[in-house]
């Protein structure tokens, strides 16, 4: 039973940040697409902006990995 709870906790640790990251990236991506239509020279900046919310899911991944492995 304990293993089930550990797996569930790990799934939550990565699942919730993944949803949050997806939501943030969808908003930034939509705004970025609009920006690029006006200013294509900002491509690099937009890619970086889209990558910024990935911190959440990366930290979630780290926590999930630690829950499972430690």
């Amino acid at each position: 039973m304990e293993k089930v709870w550990i797996a569930f906790a790990a799934a939550l640790a990565i699942g919730l940040p993944a949803i949050a990251t997806a939501w943030a990236q969808s908003r930034i991506g939509a705004a970025g697409a609009g920006t690029l239509a006006e200013k294509p020279e900002l491509t690099g900046v937009i890619i970086i902006l889209v990558a910024i919310p990935e911190t959440m899911v990366i930290l979630g991944f780290v926590v999930a990995a630690m829950i499972l492995l430690m």
């Binding site: 690099g44 970086i48 990558a51 630690m66």
Partner: protein
């Protein structure tokens, strides 16, 4: 690196102003700065005044401006058939060109007008021809000499055709017939036949219903129906021949005169630029004075050029850059060999201020290392090295692809290096097949050591950023800000040591005293930076934690590579296994190039540069001759 700039003042007799501006324009290394002159005006307002052109110069400028505009209009009318510019000195022939350009402009306008009329008529006739060709089969059903009135219409869609048919039948009490056909371009056309008595009201209904009726040129309208198409063809051929003739005449005019006018236009543009540049000069009763910016290593060359050209009459003097001017100094970024390709990444940011740093060398030093740390695989490194060599060899130097190839090459070398340390060759394939073992640690298993390593990299990188920020503040003569940065640096270091002491207790590393040290430094930070200082400290800690992505992305890459190998092995067939594993490794490599690039850049732009980089510098934009 940011090139060292010099503030220079150029002074000379008023009559040498235009020639001096011409020389500066020709060299293309000097950027005038009217804001500096405004300050001079405030300091010496009794003596200096903005330059006002005399009557001769004004007349000349007006003449050149008018000629420039008329030549521009003429060249816009010509078809641009010729490109070579003759070795012509335009100034002696300006008066002649002034007379000729009016004549040529008149000729060109008339020819373009005729050509436009011709083209319009050709377009109309081609449309009519398509219409009548579609209706030709319907016309053949009608009697040649009947008393019928026939006219064609274009119809929006089948529904409108149905409505129109009902309406016309009702209006003419069945004494009309409408047939329809589809043209080559898919438009629906109709042929309406009725007797002469009802044609008037019927035409009115078509107007009311907004159904466009096909109109023909008057000379064709009276022709019998069967001869109309032939007549349209004849007329179209005639117009096409006319248009071709007019185009040939325009092309002849272009071939004969464009090179001369183009040369004159370039000369006029440069001359007018000089007149505009006079707005940046100030004068006394006898002298002119210009101030501006240039690269410091070019000052002596310009000094010698001015001496040589004006035999000492025009003097250049380098002046000290004042503290309040430091933010106004324009910026030139120039990086030697190894670092030059990395400007691709620094160009994604706005230009740094003169008192700040060029981010390019820092990206050049750290980006490939971070990339290698994340990807770290001998197999992937070899493939990337081959791609990099192809890009660097196949494209010209300084081409974007060549620059990216060079960056990829360095990143691939670090990928190989870390691949050897991690003992990875296409994930765990090296271990399985070749008995390869990690020299440092196995990323697939040692999650915690890798996390500590990534965080250590973060501590070093972020603290380096804070040190650079403090040094930049000292250079700007802002000791208070520098003190805040050093206090932040010390507080961060103490906090990091406290965290290390908590997780790895050592007799010499006591968490309590370290936290007391942070507490002592806190009032200094709050006094210097306000109540947000503790938040700034937390943000710095957050920045350090963000480096954990080096471990996380690398870890996911290793796992994906291992999954590729396992799935390949599970197929039970050598060829299928190679295919499955190859596809998954290719996908992993694609991710392995994209993710480390984006995240390494993000670590630089967000975590590292925010500690010291001051963006928003002015680009150095010298006077330069336009290429002909």
């Amino acid at each position: 690196m940011i090139i060292r700039m010099a503030k220079v003042e150029i002074v000379g007799p008023k009559q040498d102003l235009l020639n001096t501006l011409d020389l500066l324009h020709d060299r293309g290394i000097f950027q005038p700065d009217p804001q500096l002159l405004e300050r001079i005006e405030l300091a010496r307002e009794d003596h200096l005044q903005a330059l006002v052109l005399d009557e001769n110069n004004l007349h000349e400028r007006s003449f050149f401006q008018g000629l420039f505009e008329r030549i521009t209009q003429l060249l816009a009318l010509l078809p641009e058939a010729s490109a070579d510019l003759p070795p012509l000195q335009p100034l002696p022939v300006m008066d002649l060109l002034d007379e000729l350009v009016d004549k040529h402009l008149e000729i060109a306008r008339e020819m373009v007008r005729q050509l436009t009329d011709c083209q319009n008529e050709i377009d109309d006739l081609q449309r009519d021809l398509a219409f009548w060709q579609a209706l030709e089969p319907l016309l053949s059903d009608l009697p040649e000499d009947s008393n019928l009135e026939i006219f064609g219409v274009t119809i929006r869609d089948a529904r409108q055709l149905q409505a129109l048919e009902g309406l016309l039948q009702k209006l003419t009490q069945g004494r009309c017939h409408i047939s329809s056909a589809t043209t080559a371009d898919g438009s629906l056309v109709g042929l309406i036949a009725t007797d002469c008595e009802t044609s008037g009201p019927l035409r009115q209904v078509l107007t009311d219903e907004r159904v466009p009726e096909l109109s023909l040129p008057e000379e064709l309208a009276d022709l019998p129906l069967s001869k109309r198409i032939l007549a349209l063809h004849d007329r179209l051929d005639l117009l096409l021949a006319n248009a071709k003739g007019l185009e040939a005449e325009l092309r002849d005019l272009d071939v004969q005169w464009r090179p001369i006018y183009r040369r004159a236009l370039n000369w006029l543009a440069e001359r007018l630029t000089l007149y505009r540049a006079t707005a940046t000069a100030y004068t006394t009763r006898l002298c002119f004075i210009i101030q501006g910016w240039m690269a410091e290593n070019e000052v002596s060359d310009l000094h010698n050029d001015l001496n040589q050209a004006f035999t000492g009459r025009v003097v250049l003097e380098q002046q000290a850059i004042l503290d309040e001017e430091i933010e106004q100094v324009p910026v030139i970024l120039r990086n030697p060999g190894y670092f030059a390709p990395f400007e691709v990444f620094s160009r994604l940011l706005p230009l740094p201020k003169y008192s700040s740093y060029d981010p390019t060398p820092l990206i050049g030093l750290f980006f490939p290392v971070f990339f290698g740390m994340i990807l770290g695989d001998i197999g992937y490194g070899m493939i990337l090295l081959l791609i990099a060599l192809f890009l660097a060899k196949h494209y010209q130097p300084h081409h974007l692809a060549s620059d990216l190839g060079k960056i990829l090459g360095v990143a691939a070398l670090y990928t190989l290096f870390f691949g050897v340390l991690y003992g990875e060759l296409f994930g765990d394939l090296g271990e399985t097949w070749l008995g390869l073992h990690p020299l440092w640690f196995d990323r697939g298993k040692a999650v915690l050591p890798m996390t500590v390593f990534a965080l250590t990299v973060g501590v070093v990188h972020v603290l380096l950023g804070i040190i650079l920020g403090a040094l930049a503040d000292l250079r700007r003569h802002k000791p208070r800000l520098a003190l805040v940065k050093f206090a932040t640096l010390l507080s961060t270091l103490l906090l990091v040591l406290a965290v290390v002491g908590y997780f790895y207790p050592q007799s010499w590393l006591k968490t309590g005293p370290l936290l007391i040290g942070v507490g002592i430094l806190m009032p200094v930070l709050v006094a210097a930076e306000g109540l947000l200082a503790p938040l700034e400290l937390l943000k710095t800690m957050g920045n350090i934690i963000s480096y954990i992505r080096i471990m996380a992305i690398g870890f996911s890459s290793v796992l994906l590579a291992m999954v590729a190998n396992r799935l390949g092995g599970m197929t039970g067939d050598v060829m299928a296994g190679i295919l499955v594993a190859g596809i998954l490794h290719a996908f992993n490599l694609l991710l392995g190039v994209f993710a480390p690039t984006v995240h390494s850049l993000r670590l630089h732009y967000v975590e590292f540069f925010s500690k010291f980089l001051d963006l928003g510098g002015r680009r150095f934009d010298p006077w330069q001759k336009r290429s002909p």
